[in-house]
Structures are given as structure tokens and as C-alpha cells.
Symmetry: C2
Subunit: 324 residues, 2 copies
Amino acid sequence: MTIKAALLGFGTVGQGVYEILEEKQQDLQHLLGRPVEVVGILVNDMNKSRPVRTETLVTDRFEQILEQQPDVIFEATIGQEPGYSYIKQALNERIHVVTANKVMFAAHGEDILEVADFHDVGIGYEATTAAGTPIIGTLSHLLQINNITKVEAILNGTSNYILTAMQQDGKSFSEALQEAKDKGYAEADPANDIEGHDAFYKLMILSQLLHKKQPVWSDVPLKGISQISPEDLTEAAQKGERIRHVAALELINGELSAQVKPVALPASHGLHSIDGVDNAITVSGDLVGSVTLRGPGAGKRTTASAMVEDFVRILQSAPIYQLH
Amino acid sequence: MTIKAALLGFGTVGQGVYEILEEKQQDLQHLLGRPVEVVGILVNDMNKSRPVRTETLVTDRFEQILEQQPDVIFEATIGQEPGYSYIKQALNERIHVVTANKVMFAAHGEDILEVADFHDVGIGYEATTAAGTPIIGTLSHLLQINNITKVEAILNGTSNYILTAMQQDGKSFSEALQEAKDKGYAEADPANDIEGHDAFYKLMILSQLLHKKQPVWSDVPLKGISQISPEDLTEAAQKGERIRHVAALELINGELSAQVKPVALPASHGLHSIDGVDNAITVSGDLVGSVTLRGPGAGKRTTASAMVEDFVRILQSAPIYQLH
């Protein structure tokens, strides 16, 4: 009996998941005891040709995906809808869900986690935050008894890539942005990256995970990097500092304080040395102290890696009755 | 019904575990659904007075610990024996085990994991490597489908502390070592730290975890930092480099290659900026790319944190029948 997987969305990340499920057939069978088969792919445009097995259902109708009775759904669509509705429907049918959709999960994560919990179904969202860098797993599974009161993070790979290229190579903002686009790091709409919205959504997801609540969105000071000039960077460099786009969250006397903005960091700061497309998250736990995770913050394979890792972990702990 | 815990060894780490179990009673009950009680502590010297509840059994006889029928044993003794024998006996009686004993686990980890697996009992060893920094959990649970072929790491907090103090503050080797001792970072026998043995054991534990085997111990080039002079550090600094004590492991065509030695690292290297008592581990996965974990590499609370986190995770997934 195979494990049946379906993909919602077949952009960069969806294709990455498909490729990894194909490449890692043997390893997956070894880890999960059964082979994994992609039984359906939901797309927007039926007319595009796609590099998938001919027997795989490609459809633009979600009902057809559900008719395949998948055990797990990989959701890699853009925006709150229809991703949110699809996920809720899937969870209600006791299908495990792995998502990379940060905009949707920042807004509806609390509800989704409740629905998943109610049905005792797995939900993975590692890929929403810092791509493949396993920060969600670390906070969910590895640091449970630690009280994490403070997070400081570089959460947008594109912004960090641009700042690094401007500072190290003397590029202009627009040159550096174009380079980030060419390398496939920038999101579909680069405004999300460079105006700080992408980092903001990820910070809200971390807030929900750590504190079971989020600050009021409109209260969070939010500033991107589009106004940073080469002169700002030169000025910082003269003081031995580097400008980084920092998302910060702190719980002070039960109140959440969050901000997302460019900050000039001295060499002694742990995020000073984070270059290029990397993301890094520093969490301060009352027992463990200050722990930092660093890894690629954008890219097809690394984001898809997080989704397949979530899938493996969910299937390993899923009760047998949940498998169709 | 309480969860019954016993401690083997009541040095720095054992005391840290005891304190955390006391302080976090409420959180543990919330996470595990039942209160946790320390039912016994195994010590060497019965004549020392110890800050524990008067009703807690303190004994120098392991049989008395077993008579308490603990659900889990925290092993924080020094050296291969008697820790190894105690752990095997505990596992055979289906008691979960959490250990911080790196020397023992480097030598006998494979056997211990087999025995634990045979009895379907939990074994936690996060605290053996990089103190509280959750590298074992990340590799065991969060990066399972990634093929990790390369590890580069700073694994000895004392060595890194000494190198940092020599380089940044111009201290001599012996001054810096004394400072590390005063702060409680250095192991009971500092030779283990400064001659590289401690980092070597941790690297062997990572090798076992990643590749289910270890290189022949005597084949691994092993050099500590005791021969590093202030002149070496100055020379490196003039080239913009820093000397770090690096443990490296790579799988090349199925063959393991390992080495543990001081290396001069350029500013572009991810381990260049790791200062003080911190440890850091960079793993390269075929899907996720290069991921680095950084955190305190020594200290009572951070090491004990790793043990209690292991305990929580094991108890959460333990079948009911295993609980006495």
C-alpha cells in the first residue's frame, strides 16, 4: 500500500517537492516503510506542459484532488485564498497537510492548528519560515521546556542578499535587486520582500508558535530596505557596523513587543556576519541560553526540503487508522 | 500517578537537572499530563550534604535506585564505567535513559541504541554534544531525508573560550585557561578539552548518528590547542583570520574522513565569528544546503536543559505500557 500525496500549486516550491519525492523514493520507503506516490497536482493553468509522470493527475479542480483520497497534501499556493479553504477542507477529511504558504499561515495558523488538533491530523509549516532552516521544528520539538522570551532574526533572504551585495560589492539597490531576481530568490512580488512584509508574516508565525498569540498587526513598526542608500551602508561600515533587516519579538511582562526594520549591527552581534541569502534566528531560552540557527532563506530545494522533512515526521507519528 | 525520575551522578550537570525538574514542575505537568518526581539520586560520596528534598533517596548503590522503579534515568556520570553498565541494565528493565556522558556514548552508543531499540525504550543523548545546542535532535528528527555528507564544527567550549580570550584580550594560554576554569566551563580534567579529546568524542557521536559508523579512532588526526602561541594568533589576525579548533567529518565515496585540529579561518568562513564558550556545527545536506546551529557549548543550565528536553520528548512519545 502506497502513501498517497497530492500537491496544491506547482510553482518553484511545488516542483521542488515533486522532484524530491521522485529522487528520494528509496530513502522515503526506508524511513516510512511504504512507497510514496504523487496522485494529483492542482494547477491554475491546464495548458502549460509540466515535467511530471504521464499517469499523474494534473487538474485545476480541487474536488478531483480529494477524489484521489490522498494521505497528505503539500500546499504551496500563493496568498490566503484559496489555500486556506483547501487546507481546512483537507484537515476535515483527515488528510495531513504540509504548507509553505506564509501569508495564509500568519493569518489563519491558529485556526488551522486547532482544526488539525481536533481531528488528530498532522500539520507541518516549517517551510513558511526561513525556508529549510529548521526553526519551527526546533521550537516545537526540541526546545519545549525552555521559556523563549526573545527572538531576533533575519527572515528575508532577498533583503539580506541585496544588503550584502550593496555593502560588499558596491552595487546599487536596483542592481542588487535584479541579481536577487535572476537567482530566483525574490518572491513573485518583490515588494513583499523589500518592504518587509515577508519578514513580518514569518515573525507573526513565530509569535503564534511561541506565545499562542500575535501582536496587533497594525501596531508593529514595519520598515523595509528600499530606502537604504549606499551612503547609509558606507556610514555603518566606517563604524564597523553592517545594516541588516531585523525582525524582533520580545515578551515583556506578558506584553508582546515586535518590530521589523533595518538596524546597524556592531561586529559583536550574532546577526552581523550573516551574509547573502541566508536567514538566521536567535532565540533566547531561560535554560539553554542563546541559540542561533542559520541557513539558506530562499531557494527551491531548501524550501521543498523543509516540506518533505515535515511530511516524513508527520507520517512517522501518524496513527495507522489515519492512513487510507 | 507521577513520572518517576532518578539521577545517576550529582555533579554540575546532575544538579542542574534536579533544579530544572523542581523549577519547571508546572510546565512539565502541562506538557506531560502528570507530575515528575525525583525518586532517587546515585552519588559517590554519601558524606557530602546536598541541597535536595529530605524525602529523596540519596544512595551510593545502583540497586537501590532500581528498587524505586524509575520511569526514566538521567545519567550524568564521568567515564565509560560504571555509566555504561548502569545504562544497559536500566534499558533491559525498560527504563528510559537520558545521558550526558560523551566518553561513554562515543564508545558504546551503537550498542546502547540497539538495546534501546530492541526494548522499544527511549534513549536521549542531546547533552553529549554541544551542550544545549540541539544538534542531535536536528539531525535525528528534523533533517531525516537529507543526506548529510559533511560536518564542520567547534565542539569544545573551553578551547574556543581560550582562543577567544587570547585573541581578543591578549591573554596568555594559562591565564585564559584559568579564566575558563573559574567560570566552570572546563571539564574536570582540562586536558580532555585542550588536547582535543572532548571534541573528538563528540565528533564520533555525530559520525555514529549520521553514518551508523565511526572512523577507526587511531586513524583520526587529533591535535588540541595547548601548543597555540599568542604569536600564532597575531599572525592569523594580520591575514584577517582567526584560529578555531575545528572538528570535521566528511563522507567521500563511502569512506569517512575525520580530523580534529586548530585551523586558521578566513572571515568568510561560517565558524570564524563564533566567539567565547559557544559551540557551532555546520552540516551540509543535499536538499537543505548548509545549516549552522550555534549555542553555548558548556555550562550547568544549558547542558541540563538538553537532558530535560530529551526527557520531555521521550515521555511524549512513550507508549503507555512503558510507564510503571
